[in-house]
């Protein structure tokens, strides 16, 4: 659950110039981008062949965050902004508050796929914005309480405010979509498997398409229709539960099944779901390349990995700044990222402690803030 800083909402609601909305969308795509190292690290921590269901789940979430990133960038492009993917990606530091989030809100870190990490971070990000008690919980979650007490806005509120502001500009005679630069936007039908979404090719050319795109970003992942009870863990999607509940099955260790006795109508009391900790690498948390000794296996493979990551960001930067068909190359680099990550995890983080923490593929060069 993302809790947007009140000052951000205020600035957005009071904006007089499109540049403010552009800034807001820059924060939005930064948010999506920041989730990728989080999910990728989780996926990379799964040993080959182990914990297949958990691994598949994390991968599918990562894919959807990439879709959200794409849609947020399309929206930014349509109103005249240019996503600086490379600069933004290289500047990400972990652990971090997600952009625009309140300080006492969710902190994301790069860690192995443990139950604790699933609960704190993955379920934290995906937590639906609802006051209904969720399965497995006897009291309201800390973030939900915080939201209620302080009256914080959700990501849904944030995007709603974006739409209102864009409509406002349009009514005032200053059409934000005057030059949507469609040729610079990515056609999602070409690159992403179709799911139950209503935003067509994902390009934004007017308020209606902006609405459709925003709806897709907000509705996936959380599943639960906002403010409705009882909850519907399918969230309108065919086939399987929304991500929050799939993660829940792994955390609570049991399948989510209908249960008339539970307050939410559902409980994690079905067949057991295993997360074999032996099948997870014990990663060095929030790894930077500088954590590894130069010349060590972790460093050489880690440097390789960071090189691929940088290349991926460079490629995506070109995609969203005039060369959308280069997503072709970016896709290839993403596979390369996976393969090179597999090399990194063969090494201990510290060569003098071969049975200790395992080297995690580094998404940062150092822990210091970039100049």
């Amino acid at each position: 659950m993302l809790l947007i800083k009140p000052e951000v909402m205020k600035r957005l609601r009071e904006a007089q110039d499109i540049s403010v909305v552009q800034d807001m969308l820059i924060s939005a795509f930064t948010l999506e981008l920041a989730t990728l190292p989080t999910y990728f690290t989780g996926a990379f921590s799964v040993k080959a062949g182990a914990n297949q269901e958990a691994w598949a789940l994390v991968q599918s979430v990562a894919l959807e965050e990439m879709l959200h990133l794409t849609l947020a960038c399309n929206l930014l492009i349509s109103i005249g902004g240019n996503p600086e993917i490379l600069k933004t990606g290289l500047g990400l530091k972990f652990p971090t508050q997600l952009p625009m989030n309140v300080d006492e809100g969710l902190s994301v870190s790069l860690q192995a796929l443990t139950k604790e990490h699933i609960y704190q971070v993955f379920m934290g990000i995906e937590r639906p914005d609802t006051r209904t008690p969720l399965p497995g919980e006897t009291a309201l979650h800390r973030l939900t309480t915080l939201k209620i007490e302080k009256g914080y806005n959700s990501i849904g509120d944030f995007y709603e405010a974006i739409l209102l502001k864009l409509a406002e500009f349009q009514v005032a005679g200053d059409d934000p979509f005057a030059h949507p630069r469609e040729e610079r936007q990515v056609n999602i039908l070409k690159w992403f498997p179709p799911t139950n979404r209503k935003c067509g090719n994902g390009k934004v050319t007017n308020l209606a398409s902006a609405k459709a795109v925003i709806h897709t970003i907000v509705s996936q992942g959380e599943g639960v229709t906002v403010e409705k009870t009882p909850i519907d863990p399918y969230g309108g999607l065919e086939g399987s539960f929304a991500h929050f509940f799939k993660f829940g099955e792994i955390f609570y260790g049991n399948r989510l099944v209908e249960n008339a006795l539970a307050p939410s109508g559902w409980s994690y009391s079905g067949a057991p779901v295993a997360l074999d900790q032996q099948g997870i690498h014990n990663f060095l948390p929030n790894a930077a390349l500088s954590d590894y000794a130069p010349g060590s296996g972790a460093y050489v493979a880690g440097a390789d990995f960071y090189n691929v990551y940088k290349r991926l960001l460079t490629s995506l930067d070109h995609v969203f700044n005039g060369a959308p068909d280069q997503l072709n190359a970016a896709l290839g680099i993403m596979y390369e990222l996976k393969l090179v990550a597999q090399k990194v995890v063969q090494y201990p983080a510290n060569p003098s402690d071969p049975d200790g923490l395992v080297a995690a593929p580094p998404f940062m060069l150092t822990h210091c803030e970039p100049a």
Partner: protein, 639 residues
């Protein structure tokens, strides 16, 4: 003009060649005798998947820095204050997947070629000032004895990749460098000549630099008239061979080429690949050796001559500094006395024996100065596709570096040969692969070279076409196609002395009649073979030999099998799939996508990889269908 002319820049650093070795033993291609151990690392004398079964095939440059600039005047510049080009880093594509290093065939692992590789020059701020695409070309002058025992196997090997960079693009900032301005001006058609000499490879998985090696490189101007893949010039060629079949002189030097640069009246010698190293891969000190012109063209290697038997040029610089900073290329002014002889007398490297000037010939130019080599020499011919069943190459012939007109060439087709080199026995013996050894060069009369007896024109060149047969069977039984090894040389009684692996080699794909509507049984054996040979894919990504996983991933599989041959992500990486088998795979996956519609749940895409399937809520029709099944639980009731 090529990299041996001016202007040129040199660089040195490391390369990574993460090649997979499960496919090193052709017997591993036999699905029916494939063992799971063939995907594991070698253990002692049990070969398994050899020394890197989890290779990705990635080839890239790493940590390469520009070392020296030599402008059109040939004078070296090393001070960055004089030219910012010296601060540049030589690297790969900044925004594409990595290039791949690929053997022509498991029975010919002696012509490894780089595909999908881009070379870039980036300034100290990381801005790319030049980028070009490496035109795929296999390495040449491969030898295995560069480093002494106890350096093992491929670590002691060394080779040269020479090619052109095409579609070269410069950033306008390159104009701030006087050197880059000269280089742009000297090159034709947005192309540059590039040469990489690679050696000191680490095949020890316990070394952090596993699959890395040393590279010294050079970039210079490219001209259309010159061969792309070798230097046609003055070629030093040993006349002795060691047990590893390497041509090496008594003091361990292998063949290398040189040219006379007219603009500076110097001899430019490239021995980056030729001088022996110590066990730490540093160029050995060979003592005081001198380059000279021999006054008697018939003086043999290893003979002793008097002071009148040669005319001095200059001392050999066999320093590590020359190798690293000048990419192993030495520049020697040609004294007047040598200049008179040099165009029709052989060059040599000699060792002065005493004050009277008696000398011993260590290594000399090929007899009669004869050289003949083809620019492209490794071919894939596909009888399933007429347009891919023929190719063409240009042979170049020269005598003492001067193009030879009217030279007649001849071809000798290889006799049947078993692939002994890549099929070792394991200990314990029952872990030796059980498949039979493949035989190459059979059936005969399959590949045709036209004309059969080519004759060079006034530029010393002749085009030769190579044709595959109309139909090709499966002489290698469990894997596709056949390898043909064809020797070439001058016709008549004076052939050129050639490097061991300088052959024309052609892989001919087997004829394959693909069914109109392929089903899983049609495609499974092909996918099984790839899953066996490339565990980095089948274990690291998904096991496409299992129908559930292949079908779920039909989209991405169709995508990668449908790429252009030169694309870094072309599948298979090894480029050993015939056009008809490839079409069949594409047709199968297209059929799967059409029949199943798109997978609507992204999670299914990933869990479709799990051979156990994954638990999703069954659809009503599936429940209905299952109720009457003998295996359905009696407890299940309708929703």
């Amino acid at each position: 003009m090529s990299y041996l002319n001016f202007p040129r820049l040199t660089f040195s650093g490391e390369f990574q060649a993460d090649i997979s070795t499960v496919n090193n033993d052709p017997r591993h291609f036999d699905n029916s005798t494939f063992e799971p151990e063939f995907q594991e690392f070698q253990q002692g004398s049990q070969y398994n998947g050899w020394w890197n079964p989890i290779g990705t095939g990635i080839f890239r440059l790493s940590g390469c820095k520009v070392k020296t600039l030599l402008g059109t005047d040939g004078i070296p510049v090393t001070d960055p204050a004089l030219d910012a080009a010296l601060n540049c880093v030589v690297g790969n594509s900044p925004d594409r997947p990595s290039g791949k290093l690929v053997d022509l065939d498991p029975d010919w692992q002696l012509a490894s070629c780089i595909y999908g590789f881009s070379v870039s020059l980036a300034d100290e701020n990381g801005k790319v000032v030049m980028q070009g695409n490496y035109q795929p070309n296999p390495f040449r002058d491969l030898w295995f004895s560069r480093a002494p025992a106890p350096v093992p196997g491929d670590s002691a090997a060394s080779a040269m990749f020479q090619s052109v960079l095409t579609d070269v693009k410069w950033h306008e900032d390159a104009m701030n460098s006087p050197f880059f301005k000269e280089l742009i001006k000297a090159s034709e058609r947005a192309q540059l000549s590039i040469r990489l000499t690679t050696y000191a490879f680490t095949g020890d998985k316990n070394d952090p630099k596993f699959m890395y090696g040393k590279v010294v490189g050079v970039i210079g101007p490219a001209y259309t008239e010159e061969p792309n893949s070798f230097i046609l010039g003055r070629r030093f060629m040993p006349t002795t061979q060691n047990a590893a079949q390497d041509m090496i002189s008594g003091n361990g030097i292998t063949c290398f080429s040189s040219i006379i640069d007219k603009s500076t009246n110097t001899l430019q010698l490239d021995f980056s690949n030729a001088l022996p190293t110590d066990a730490d891969f540093r160029i050995q000190n060979l003592g005081m050796l001198e380059f000279a012109v021999l006054t008697n063209p018939l003086t043999a290697q290893d003979t002793q001559i008097g002071p009148d038997g040669y005319c001095m040029i200059g001392a050999l610089d066999c320093s590590e500094a020359l190798q690293n900073n000048l990419s192993g290329i030495q520049s020697l002014a040609i004294p007047d006395a040598a200049r008179a002889l040099i165009h029709d007398h052989p060059l040599a490297l000699i060792q002065i024996l005493d004050e009277r000037g008696n000398a011993s010939v260590c290594i000399r130019e090929a007899l009669l100065g004869l050289e003949v080599r083809p620019d492209q020499f490794a071919f894939r011919l596909d009888p399933n596709d007429a347009s891919a069943n023929q190719s063409e190459t240009t042979f170049h012939a020269a005598r003492y570096g001067i193009p030879m007109e009217n030279a007649e060439l001849e071809f000798w087709f290889g006799s049947p040969v078993l692939d002994y080199g890549n099929t070792p026995a394991s200990e314990p013996a029952d872990m030796t692969p059980k498949a039979l050894l493949p035989v190459n060069n059979v059936p005969a009369q399959v590949v045709k070279l036209v004309p059969e007896r080519p004759v060079t024109d006034k530029h010393g060149k002749v085009k030769v076409k190579i044709h595959g047969p109309r139909v090709m069977g499966t002489p290698r039984e469990y894997f596709d196609g056949q390898l043909y090894i064809i020797s070439y040389n001058f016709a008549g009684k004076n052939p050129a002395v050639q490097q061991t692996y300088d052959k024309v080699v052609a892989v001919v794909f087997s004829t394959f009649d693909a069914p109109e509507k392929p089903n899983w049984a049609d495609v499974q054996p092909i996918l099984q073979q790839y899953a066996n040979l490339y565990p980095v894919m089948s274990h690291g990504l998904f096991d496409f030999s299992k129908q559930a996983q292949a079908d779920t991933n039909a989209r991405i599989l169709h995508f990668v099998f449908n790429k252009h041959f030169d694309d870094p992500d072309y599948m298979p990486v090894t480029r050993d799939l015939s056009s008809s088998k490839r079409k069949m795979l594409l047709s199968y996956f297209a059929g799967v996508m059409a029949a199943n519609g798109q997978i609507s749940d992204t999670q299914q895409i990933y869990t479709g990889r799990c051979p156990m399937g994954f638990i999703r809520k069954p659809r009503p029709q599936e429940i209905e269908a299952g109720l009457d099944s003998v295996t359905s639980s009696k407890l299940r009731s309708k929703r």
